[in-house]
């Protein structure tokens, strides 16, 4: 139980909650967003792979179903402590030490833009020890290196148990390089959220 207490304590203490997902993660992220209370005192940053020119209704859908403020990130947007930020399609989202976002259109990483690695690594660089991060289902290896950097910089890092993931490769890659401090079943992830809000 000690491990579980530690998990809850650190999850509660985190100022940033980073959620990364690709194929097979949307429903879970949507469920999470619905659960966040309006006074969830965290900056939630969601990086989900999506195609360019795919005028996704993600923000709209999330906004209609969330008690928190939802924002699609624009360049140099300040980072608020009680909001959900969604990485825009076709850009990488970076976090700057001064407390704002910056965007980047450079090469795709793992064929992905936004790339989870890019955002996770830049948060690790600036705010690592204040973070909790969860890597969900996906069909490539994006996010593993980023999660490792977060872990190395003191963040609480969690991978969805690959057995539960629709696409196991992404959390599997993170586990393979020992980037995840905790490997949790989907039910445990939602329990954690329930116990921490």
């Amino acid at each position: 139980m000690a491990a579980k207490d530690d998990l809850i304590k650190r999850f509660k203490a985190a100022k940033f909650l980073l959620l990364g997902g690709s194929a097979g993660s949307f429903k879970l992220l949507f469920r999470m967003v619905k659960m966040f209370p309006h006074d969830f005192k965290k900056t939630v940053i969601i990086v989900i792979h999506r195609k360019k020119n795919f005028f996704s209704e993600i923000e709209k859908l999330f906004a209609e179903n969330s008690r928190m403020l939802i924002r699609e990130i624009s360049d140099k947007d300040p980072i608020d402590s009680n909001a959900i930020y969604i990485a825009p399609a076709n850009y990488h989202t970076l976090v700057e030490k001064g407390g704002y976002f910056s965007l980047d259109v450079s090469e795709s990483v793992w064929y992905s833009k936004p790339s989870i690695d890019v955002t996770f690594e830049s948060v690790a660089d600036s705010y690592g020890k204040d973070c909790a991060a969860i890597l969900f289902s996906g069909a490539n290896q994006d996010g593993a290196n980023g999660l490792l950097k977060l872990r190395q910089s003191g963040a609480l890092t969690i991978a969805q148990n690959p057995e539960d993931a629709e696409m196991s490769e992404m959390p599997g890659a993170a586990i393979g390089i020992d980037a995840a401090e905790y490997i949790l079943h989907t039910t445990e992830i939602f329990e954690l959220l329930q116990n921490s809000t």
Binding site: I73, D104, S106, D125, L148
Partner: protein
């Protein structure tokens, strides 16, 4: 030398400052107002591509004059597309073209044009709107290498195919290949589209006003700069626009400075198209 992979590269803030100082002193290029997170990523990318440790990178920057050009090309992001963000081009057609058509000669500046895709996209749009003959587009970049590509106007067929969807979504008639001559695996932009374009070197950080424009497009450039530098460049753009001229930044970049918010009217909130007011 040891193999360097992306995972291992960790550049500290102190190293970043050290390198920026070094480049400024030796090469006269000032990167100090570039956004730190993306600049760090570019440095890490160069170190990985060239298999260099941080110390080696400094050494080669000081001792190999030819390397700097390569360094500059890698530091400045040159990822671009034709008709990137099709909604932007629809907004240009609906909200800016009518204004441009009131001029006998309209001058347009694409700042930070990289390999020219955006310049030719605007040229195609103007041609379809029957404005090609009375408009002139200047494409500028700090990078001589990409400008060479831009002047050629030859792109791989694979790239052109990937732009086809963008083109379709702009609502322009026909297909993107109507504007190119296909030669085996490459596509050359029609020479009539090149006639009214000029590509030249211009450094937004250190160079000044060089002409007066009815429209300036500068997309995915501001994202690499801190807000103070953005403001300095906004001043340059403001002074380069004719009264009521249009500044087009694209959908993720906004004018944040209160000072400049007063000097520009928002024409399209989503695509961040502004019109110069006052004088």
């Amino acid at each position: 030398m040891r193999e360097i992979t992306g995972k291992e590269i960790n550049i500290t803030s102190a190293q970043l400052t050290e390198l920026i100082d070094l480049v400024r002193k030796i090469h006269g290029f000032d990167f100090s107002d570039y956004t730190k997170a993306s600049f760090k990523r570019r440095l890490a990318r160069i170190m990985m591509l060239k298999k260099l440790e941080f110390y080696d990178l400094k050494h080669i920057l000081v001792n190999d004059p030819a390397f700097f050009q390569e360094f500059l090309e890698e530091i400045t992001v040159n990822v671009t597309e034709m008709f990137r963000d099709p909604a932007f081009y629809r907004a240009l057609r609906d909200q800016v073209v009518p204004y441009l058509s009131t001029y006998q000669h309209a001058k347009i500046w694409c700042a930070g044009c990289s390999s020219g895709e955006e310049v030719y996209s605007v040229a195609i749009l103007l041609k379809e709107e029957n404005l090609a003959k009375k408009s002139f587009i200047y494409g500028t970049d700090i990078n001589t290498g990409v400008l060479k590509e831009a002047r050629k106007g030859i792109y791989s067929l694979r790239k052109i195919k990937s732009y086809a969807e963008n083109y379709m979504l702009t609502g322009l008639p026909g297909s993107i290949t109507d504007h190119f001559t296909i030669m085996y695996d490459a596509a050359a932009v029609h020479s009539e589209l090149k006639q009214n374009t000029l590509f030249s070197v211009h450094n937004l950080i250190s160079d000044t006003v060089f002409n007066e424009f009815q429209m300036i497009s500068c997309r995915n450039v501001f994202i690499y700069f801190e807000t103070e530098l953005q403001e300095r460049i906004l001043d340059l753009f403001y002074n380069s626009l004719c009264p009521l001229g249009y500044l087009c930044l694209g959908n993720k970049e906004t004018i944040r400075s209160d000072n400049f918010r007063k000097k520009f009217k928002v024409i399209n909130q989503k695509e961040n198209i502004y019109q110069k007011i006052g004088s």
